[in-house]
Symmetry: C3
Subunit: 331 residues, 3 copies
């Protein structure tokens, strides 16, 4: 049942140059190490070059410099990693969207669901919401009022989108994502906290992917914005009124406080944090678990966390850090 | 359809002193920068004072010191930020609670749901649970047995509350919150882990707000407690048997291990961590991403994370840190 | 209604030696401090030894060295903490599994649900999925196609399991868990990101417990694996293609990047992070909030985060750290 292709057929669809032809039909993609004769493997990171000789792959994807590094049937392409991505997609197309609304779904009469969209069981869709052509909405999603879902967007099960939020075209939102919950805003008043209603919304551009259980808060007055092509991993928190520039990627467990503006093509490492009201310019890389506490105006990589070490060594390090501050002395 | 008020009407409802009157009806709140003639703006942080002159706002909220800083129609109040919060609420009242149980909801016959409460589609409510007057329970919430929800509490979609937990009055729980999952308790036994059943519950006071996908574990034997007026942001983890004092605010992505006692009016910064069995006294501020590993008995602000820097500088810093511990020398 | 036991009955079920007998029936477990005459308490951590004299407990569990430290009726056992765990379970058995599929559940005709399993309201079960004997699936769970749930596994409400994933026997997955969402894989191509379809799955061994809102991503080509006996707390992120060794415990809010291999019997502290493609050998302990950036080949405890301090002291510390790197000098 699985798709099966020859090298020539792959190249016809995805471009690149075929050198030789696989001995039999290719039925999937695998790593150089685990591939068998029915697999096409790939060499995208040169540290795996030594695996080429021993690979049992039926064919391999590689760059022009590696063209003669193997006698295996091969596809030569300028960007083997992106080619690998497209080849996996060729062998594993997304499940087809089954047009129609599941009989258990609760769709408000004033919502407009395109006839080509799929709405799963136990979905709730609110007043005035529009679901675009080819959308697929997984089981148990809760979509508020006046929401817009662009063409071809896929929501996995149990996504929540609050009222008035917009999601672009060809987006993917994974299970447990929450878009548009209230930003964290309150005013102190005589020892208590007065809630500031959050009346902005969230606007998400086209081709954005958002990982499982990530949360993106609605704005206080203006909107929170995720621009096109951003890729967010799991369990990220984006505070109210942030603007994340196009094609920025954010790894898992990152926390971004309110009103942060991040440029385009940034890369934020896993578990990093960014405090509120900062600006990060384009093309900045933030290392894993690094805390950014000032605006960054120069592209580059930024880091804060000290190296880990055996705990006994750490105890001496910690004592030095403490002594420095206890004595108020410079080391 | 939106609410519309004059300055005089706002002051009649919220107090403060009106100086002048807006030229036309006010229909919403905006920042000084984005406000137009139909908006009321606010000056709560003096760093935005320079925006006052150019603001096109129809009126502005400000403190007594700024009374003469503008000729705009204005409201003078001792706490402009709290006044702003209340003004936003005046223009944006929460959606009305629509009394009644959705026909798809599964309410145990031995649960007691007040006639004035709203229960959304696909909600499950267990045996012996009581839902107070004016509660609103969003789509897909799963509420166990013997739970108590106090008057006026609102659950957004897909909240889970395990058996025996209590939520106070006028609380707000956002989508994906989990209250009362098992605390992380197990005993080592011959190379395996024996689960310790968690038979305490969670008790949440009045006027607590809990952000999206935050989790609060039930106690091992005694209860986990969140006292009144606490505000918790998104993706916070509160371990079993913690006690969080009244009016403490906790920013996103904070992790609090088991049996931590936090005082009242504390402020815990985003992504901070607190290890188990500690006591934090009242009025403590913990900086973002700071790890607290000892009890704190003195109010103040505490910090641990070193400053971030360009990665090339960090490499030198890291080498110094490592050399110190490798050589066992003091610097 | 609650269970009630004598010391002799407990020992008959759980082993150990009874010394004396409780004056009346025991109806539950409590701490030394809060126990009354109907409770059995326990002394597992010697720092609580001083509480023994004043305890009002009807009986106490303790180790052989403490055998004569009290005159209370007692159970002497080599592992009082594990004995305590089993005693709590004796008094608090898990709720019985009520065989049957709730009429609102949507079970694909080609799924096989054992007749002894319980399937709650609003559950969705996909094509080809098998639910083993004695499983209990909570309200609102979304289980994809070709999933396997082993005998006796319990899913709390609102768990999502994507297609093709496997969960072993006697596992517990708490509310909001997401198993099998796409790993974070994409290839840069001309300033945009090309998604790499994630076609591996997740395999979870027997007796694994997974805390609320934890996410475990499916593999890119091969599977992500959680071996038997692992215990994962809440809000953990496990990246694609990780392998977590048997009986490893991971505390809350840990983030593990892709392709990390962790050995067996490791202990990962809360909020720790592990960057991608590392190997951590058996019996490693990672301290809370520590970032592991290199493979670890030697058992032991590893730490990175500097000690917290009052913010004024921290400012001096931060200035020293910055001066070191600004001047390019060794301290």
């Amino acid at each position: 049942m699985a798709a099966s292709f020859s090298l020539a057929e792959i190249v016809a669809r995805l471009g690149g140059e075929a050198v030789g032809e696989a001995p039999g039909p290719l039925t999937g993609v695998a790593t150089l190490e685990s591939a068998g004769p029915a697999h096409i493997a790939f060499l995208a990171n040169l540290k795996y070059r030594s695996q080429l000789a021993a690979s049992r792959a039926g064919a391999v994807i590689l760059g022009p410099e590696e063209r003669e590094a193997t006698q295996l049937p091969r596809i030569v392409t300028g960007n083997p990693y992106a080619y690998y991505a497209r080849t996996v997609a060729l062998f594993n197309p997304p499940p087809p969207v089954k047009a129609g609304v599941h009989p258990t779904a609760q769709v408000d009469p004033a919502a407009i669901v395109d006839a080509s969209a799929e709405v799963g069981p136990f979905v709730v869709i609110g007043h005035g919401t529009r679901v675009g052509p080819g959308c697929a909405i997984g089981a148990g999603c809760a979509i508020g009022a006046n929401v817009r879902l662009g063409e071809g967007t896929r929501l996995h099960p149990r996504v929540t989108i609050y009222d008035d939020c917009t999601v672009g075209e060809r987006c993917i939102l994974h299970a447990g994502v929450v878009v548009g919950a209230d930003g964290f805003g309150m005013a102190p008043d005589a020892g208590r906290w007065v809630k500031i209603p959050q009346v902005g919304a969230v606007r998400i551009g086209n081709e954005v992917e958002i990982g499982a259980n990530t949360t993106i808060d609605r704005g206080a007055l203006d909107d929170t914005v995720i621009e096109e092509g951003c890729k967010l991993d799991n369990q990220i928190q984006v505070g109210h009124n942030c603007v994340i520039g196009a094609h920025t990627v954010i790894a898992g467990c990152v926390g971004i406080a309110g009103s942060v503006r991040i440029g385009h093509h940034c890369r934020i490492g896993g578990k990093a944090g960014i405090t509120g009201h900062l600006e990060i310019c384009d093309n900045v890389t933030v290392s894993a678990m690094t805390l950014i506490t000032k605006s960054i105006r120069k592209p580059g990589t930024y880091t804060s966390v000290p190296p880990f070490m055996p705990h006994a060594d750490w105890l001496r390090y910690a004592a030095r850090v403490r002594r420095g501050h206890d004595e108020g002395e410079e080391p």
